[in-house]
Amino acid sequence: MMDSFFQRSLEDIIKGLRLCPPGTEPTFIAKSLDDIRREIKSSDRSTKATALQKLTYLHSIHGVDMSWAAFHSVELASSSTHSHKRIAFLSASLSFNPSSTDVILLLTHQLRKDLSSSNAHDVSLALSTLSSICNPDLCRDLTPELFTLLGSSKFFVRKKAIAVVLRVFEEYPDAVRVCFKRIVENLETSDMGILSAVVELLCELTVKEPRSYLPLAPEFYKILVDSRNNWVLIKVLKIFAKLIPLEPRLGKRVVEPICEHLRRMGAKSLAFECVRMIVTSLSEHESALRLAVGTVREFLLDDDPNLKYLGLQALAIVAQKHMWAVLENKELVVKALSDVDPNIKLEALRLVMSTVSADNVMDICTILISHALKSDPEFCNEILGCIFLTCSRNFYEVIFDFEWYVSFLGEMARIPYCQKGTEIETQLVDIGMRVKDARLELVSVARDLVIDPALLGNPFVHGVLAAAAWISGEYVNLSRNPFELMEALLQPRTSLLTPSVRSVYIQSAFKVLMFCIYSYVKLDGDDTSYPSGLTESVSERDLGRSFATVGSESLSDSELDNENVVITGGQPPSFSSRKQHLTEESIMGLINLAETNLGPLSGSDEVEIQDRASNVLGFIKLVKPKLHGCLDQSRGDIMKDELKAPEMIKLIYDLFSEELGPVSLNAQERVPLPDGLALKENLGDLEAICGDVEFSLPMSFSLVKPQMAAQDSAHVLECPSKEVCEPSSESTSLLAEHRKRHGLYYLPPEDKEVVDKDYQPTREPKGKAIDATEDLVKLTEPFFVKKKSNRVKPRPVVVKLDDVEEANVLVEKHEFKPDLLSGAVQEVLLGNEATASSSRKSSNKSNNDITNTAESSQASFVGSGRRKHHTHGKGRTNRTSGKEKEERSHKDEHKRDSRDHKHKSRQRAEGTLNVDVQSSVIPDFLL
């Protein structure tokens, strides 16, 4: 008693919280919680109730944990006073977690009592609570009560019960068998609230598994035509949107009523739903679509930003099939790109990107980029991201002119606030590996990037520079001037780069140097008609490597001519120009340049840099003296043992000249798992230890590298005629490639033969999938053939790996998960079809033959014995219109009969019959 006098009320707490100075809130809450803990144990119900109410307040507004008080809610719920009950149930519905609060089961009895209470308000309270705390046990125990309530004479109770049933079905699908018939019966009620509840319930159910609800289509149609309640209509439209794809003939029936609603132009919400319905499910109905697009246009022209936003969304849906709709509203869409609302801008951008095709990709990108340069950095990056995503979609499906795209990528990197460096980096390398024909342009783009000292200062483009450097090194044979590349790669300002990028630079410099020396030595051999078979095989190789450029030669002809490069058939375009530079002095200059620039780096404290620098230096040390010897030979004084230098150079050069291909996403999966490596073991305890700490990527590469590298090289040496195996890592990252290739030099070439000959080439399958030019040619699908014909030049081959990747995704998507709920619904709706159809046969004998044909056709229809197919099969048989009419009238009679029955008695058996008859009615309705 005294407690309740001195207890602080909810209002006191709220006032206190509002008055307490900032920062002291937690103390105040903690103090209040202490009080609450004491008060809630009180035997006085109203003290307890107030305490619980305060706690509920703190829980829902301030996020205070109240799971400890769950039992008190249960206790108070048993109070006979409505106000206490209300507080208790409110706290329960706000704080109980259906899956983890174990005292919920203690509430079962109380809920049952309240659900069957004579006080309608108690019932409604219990229903609201049930809807938020129900778990399978609770649902199972309370289904009978719920079933009774579905027929309650108090509309507001029945309505709530229907809404709660949705949750119950989800938790406890068996309830469907008991309740579903009653729900369907409620579809015919005159009360708007109940109808709305039923339609909402069915809408939610239909979204999950539409097929089961097809038999109810006639009922929905009736509502669609008769109802004037927007909320109900919206839900019915949603239901039809799900049903029509399953039963296209439904579309013909509903399209007119929907257009009717749209023309009436009542509430915007309904209008939008009609539009969405038409564009998603009825887009083949020309006039309806026109009407919908017209409405969309009105939306776009409206001042209301909401309508604009939704209009753009609707257009995006239409755009997939009917591009004209977007074209008609082009100016509005482009205008939306500069809207004040970032969400609308984004939506417009998405819409624009969805219209991209091979024909317009260049135009759209140009427009967007000019727009991007004008807009704020955030949106600019959004645009860039969208462009990169769209262009790279499905292996650059929309790109025909890779030269354009590659130079476009290069330009993008130069946009001052471009933060999409990673995307550009990945795509540059990816295109390099996948599209042979683009390499020439790629190299010149890369050269421009590498050579520009201004870019080195911008940390956002470092990734791009790494890609450019890698490309310059990897495809140096396509470069016009390797010397300037070398200078660019070794320029002093590279010290601004991050270590990882810098090591790419050094490695690329190594490759360029290698290439120059090699060309020089080879040239030498040519000049003096060098006797060994070496040069011959080499020039063959070179021919092979330059093969890629031949294709694009005719195009780049004029361009190359400007630079005074003479193209001799089959030779790399840069070959002759290079010739002029290849003198002893220039080579020595190159070597010295490398030496002076990399010398200090061999003492760098970054291992990657140090490693690579010493590799290059070591190589120089090895080659430099030999080079002089080689030069002596060229003067005619041939000494047998000094042949070594070119041989060694060739050996190393060959190792570099193996082509890198893209690596399949699934590559890793194909690597057989070594014994004793448990990848799938649960790391749960690890998670417990580390908590929220995010893991950085493990640096496992460097650990496995030496061994793998050895295997790689051994394989290469043993079977030089075969194509190279791919690096085993699924990572396509530039650096990873580098490390692996770099690793080759941990062992001197002589040692390689020693490596175990019969090691298992784990990467064999990939090699097969990727390489072999013939296979690549085959991969260009016939899909493009049509488009090719009206293009000046063929689309370059884009290397795609096994389509397993896509196939996998598809399989996952189509994986059918049998749904317990829908199974139960189907059973109820189509339960005793056999009896129903037999009764139908007897009722109209004239149709017997038709039914027979229907049934025979059904046999040839789908093999599955499920009943829904049964209905379908019948629906698809063609009948003459006369018979159809006749039959429909019969059906209607039948239906009316059964409804009369239903009104007389609400027995379950009758209900079943009724539902079944409806289900058999549907084919006639559809025709």
Binding site: M192, N230, S269
Partner: protein
């Protein structure tokens, strides 16, 4: 369906939260933080929808209070705006030109009214009159109980227990 309803003041203070889908306490706090970051920063005269974690959040500002509801991708945004307005109108009718303070001091009543409008994440009553009638009836039940509890005889009975 509606996954949750959140009322946030312009200063980012939570005034009401109702969850129709299961969220843990931790997630709830995070959701509210994320949403207030997204919504409160949006200027006036922008559209009332934001995309959030694959869902859509429909919000509308009434004076100093933001009413936010989170819905599925293919739900009708305009309909939700209507529901929000419906709720506000009923609150207005109940409190008599409602203001934020009414909701602060009568948070439980705001819940009871919301419970009459939405159930299991669905709209259950589209008639303002009906909702007002039901809430009033419940209130009178509570009043009757209070009167009974505070009647002298009851107090004596309690005290002598």
């Amino acid at each position: 369906m509606i996954h949750f309803v959140v009322l946030i003041s312009r200063q980012g203070k939570v005034r009401l939260t109702k969850w129709y889908s299961p969220y843990s306490q931790k997630e709830r706090a995070k959701v509210i933080r994320e949403l207030s970051g997204m919504i409160l920063t949006r200027g006036p005269k922008l559209c009332n929808f934001v995309e959030w974690r694959g869902y859509k959040v429909v919000y509308k500002r009434y004076a100093s209070l933001y009413f936010c509801m989170c819905i599925d991708q293919d739900d009708n945004e305009l309909e939700i705006l209507e529901i929000i307005h419906h709720y506000v109108e009923i609150l207005d009718r109940y409190f008599g030109s409602v203001c934020e303070l009414d909701l602060i001091f009568n948070f439980h009543k705001a819940y009871y009214i919301l419970d009459e409008i939405l159930i299991a994440g669905e709209l259950q009553e589209s008639s303002k009159k009906t909702v007002a009638r039901l809430v009033a009836a419940q209130d009178s039940l509570v009043e009757a109980a209070k009167e009974q509890a505070s009647s002298i005889s009851n107090m004596i009975a309690q005290a002598t227990k």
